[in-house]
């Protein structure tokens, strides 16, 4: 379940029995819906009942819809799992508020998943969640999609690829320092920069200032389907993020047979074996040193060998199996009544604890009111329906009709 994107609204059936609800709540800031606290209760309740849901899994600490859905699911007695995909700070005003919201959501979650051990440490410290409840399941890469080029790019130039959002968090300012220095030291190096963002202007200015138009190519935003074709045109992948919980981009690059140079931040050291990645401090001089080292060991790299290793190390099937284990653990958690659950919120803070309790009590009362106005028996359950292959269409339709008529 997510919010509507443009005019993509309503229900979509995907392959493998996946069904997506695009609820028509307009995003108001950075792809997030307006936090109304209780506004989403009716639609979430309707969807959970009609689809016979057993467990609710929310993603991303910055998603208002996620926090609201998890809150309502807990009120209605469903088991809840939360996955955190990013690292956040502790010191600035935005992070302090975000961490408080996270503390509220995670105070009563059944289980949590983080994408790296560093991310687990960060989440546990920010939210006060018990470490025993947090599982580490790293992301994976689709090795079938990210294959190396049949032949390596043959020119004498060494091509360094950068694909990221050009924002402060992703180290776009570091790139502005590093690229001219590397171009000066090594006349055979070219850069391809894919991605867009507020810092793109700085990179364009850097190109003009150092006359690097023929050595630095700016591609703009690259759709995900075209990322592989951009990656295979290069030899080295450069990641300059200032913070990263995991970094799937370097997995994709390694799967395409590129040697990676990255900043040593967050969960990045946990992602690739030491012979596939060269780490540097998020400092321009250290990054230039790392790039030079990468250039020197480049002749020893075999893209196909790298791809085969990545295929064995990471697979989405493995992630699915591990996630299922977390779901089974969550479903075994005991059911708790309102009083027991509310007492967990009181430990969140002197004032915050009482506020959270109040929010949950009001949510509980609103849920009871909704049960009176629209009893669960009035909400029809959806029959199971999986997209048929062509020859199965009539059988699936007959099955659907039987389920509807009971």
């Amino acid at each position: 379940m997510t919010h509507a994107y443009g005019n993509r609204s309503g229900v979509r059936y995907m392959t493998g029995g996946l069904k997506v609800y695009y609820v028509p709540w307009r995003p108001f800031l950075m792809q997030n819906t307006l936090p109304t606290f209780y506004g989403t209760l009716p639609i979430i309740r309707t969807i959970l009942i009609r689809e016979r849901i057993s467990l609710v899994h929310g993603h991303q600490a910055f998603s208002t819809l996620c926090h609201e859905a998890l809150m309502h699911a807990r009120t209605m007695g469903y088991k809840v799992v939360f996955t955190d995909h990013s690292l956040y700070g502790f010191a600035d005003v935005g992070s302090i508020h975000m961490n408080k919201v996270l503390q509220f959501t995670l105070a009563d979650v059944s289980q949590a998943i983080c994408v790296s051990h560093t991310s687990k440490e960060n989440t546990v410290l920010r939210s006060g969640l018990l470490p025993e409840k947090v599982f580490v399941i790293p992301n994976a890469v689709d090795a079938a999609m990210f294959k190396p080029a049949p032949e390596r790019p043959s020119s004498n130039d060494i091509v360094i690829v950068v694909i990221s959002r050009l924002v402060y968090r992703k180290g776009a300012d570091l790139l502005v320092e590093v690229i001219p220095e590397v171009c000066r030291l090594h006349p055979n190096i070219r850069f391809i920069v894919g991605g867009d963002g507020p810092k793109r202007v700085r990179l364009e200015e850097m190109r003009e200032k150092h006359s690097l138009q023929d050595r630095v190519e700016m591609l703009g935003a690259v759709p995900h389907a075209h990322v592989r074709s951009v990656l295979i045109s290069g030899h080295i992948f450069l990641n300059s993020s200032l913070t990263e919980a995991f970094c799937i981009a370097i997995l994709e690059a390694a799967s395409c047979g590129l040697l990676t140079v990255s900043t040593r931040v967050g969960g990045v050291p946990e992602v690739l074996p030491d012979d596939m990645i060269i780490l540097a401090e998020p400092d321009p001089r250290d990054m230039v040193r790392a790039i030079m080292k990468a250039v020197s060991i480049l002749p020893r790299i075999d893209p196909q060998v790298m791809h085969d290793r990545m295929k064995k190390l990471y697979s989405w099937h493995d992630v699915a199996k591990r996630t299922e284990i977390v779901y089974n653990r969550a479903l075994k958690c005991s059911n708790q009544n309102l009083i027991e659950r509310v007492s967990r919120y009181l430990s969140c803070g002197a004032w915050a604890g009482k506020l959270f309790c109040l929010v949950m009590i009001i949510d509980f009362l609103l849920w009871r009111l909704l049960q009176l106005l629209q009893p669960a028996g009035d909400i029809e359950e959806v029959p199971d329906f999986i997209l048929p292959h062509q020859h199965q269409e009539s059988e699936v339709l007959e099955d659907f009709k039987e389920q509807c008529l009971g």
Partner: protein, 181 residues
């Protein structure tokens, strides 16, 4: 002649066929009035009991509060639609009717040649999600709802959808015969 009918707490579904040929299929969805009446009566009684307990002696206050409750209930719960019907005439087309409590009837006829396919779709709004039966009409960008005002449950929509599919298929086959022969 009523072939079969069944109901839930809000609607009653009735399937009729026209004598003598039974070629025409008529499907009605009727709003249940009893549910509404019961709610109004209990709300008014509740209001009256509350006022007695508070020992409100002033007659104008009693009168106005009861009147206000009545208007509020009518505004929130009154459904001007009494019945909606789908009349399927396989050779000609489909007639969609909305019957209002005031006696007004709104008709909408769709020729069978213009109907591409009847579909059951799930509609998602910011507060709820429900099934609706719609027609994909040639030349129109938007789907045409079979039931404009009411939201009957899926169990009531499926027999109507089956009849519509059968009528469209029948027409398509007879058109193909005519083109071949």
């Amino acid at each position: 002649m009523v072939k079969f009918s069944f109901s839930n707490s809000r609607y009653t579904y009735m399937n009729e066929s026209e004598w003598p040929s039974e070629a025409v299929g008529i499907h009605h969805i009727v709003v249940q009035r009893s549910f509404l009446r019961g709610f109004c009566v209990s709300a008014l009684l509740g209001n009256g009991v509350y006022l007695l307990l508070v020992k409100e002696n002033s007659v104008p206050v009693l009168f106005w509060s009861l009147l206000l409750t009545e208007f509020l209930l009518m505004f929130l719960l009154w459904n001007p639609v009494y019945k909606e019907s789908v009349i399927i005439m396989p050779a000609f087309g489909v007639q969609l009717e909305t019957h209002y409590s005031s006696g007004r009837i709104v008709h909408n006829f769709v020729p069978v040649g213009k109907i591409l396919k009847p579909v059951l779709v799930e509609c998602v709004t910011p507060v709820t999600c429900y099934w609706s039966l719609s027609l994909i009409v040639r030349g129109e960008e938007e789907l045409m709802l079979a039931f404009m005002k009411l939201r009957p449950p899926l169990k009531m929509l499926v027999p109507i959808w089956k009849s519509l599919c059968a009528a469209i298929d029948c027409r398509r086959r007879s058109t193909t015969f005519r083109e071949d022969g």
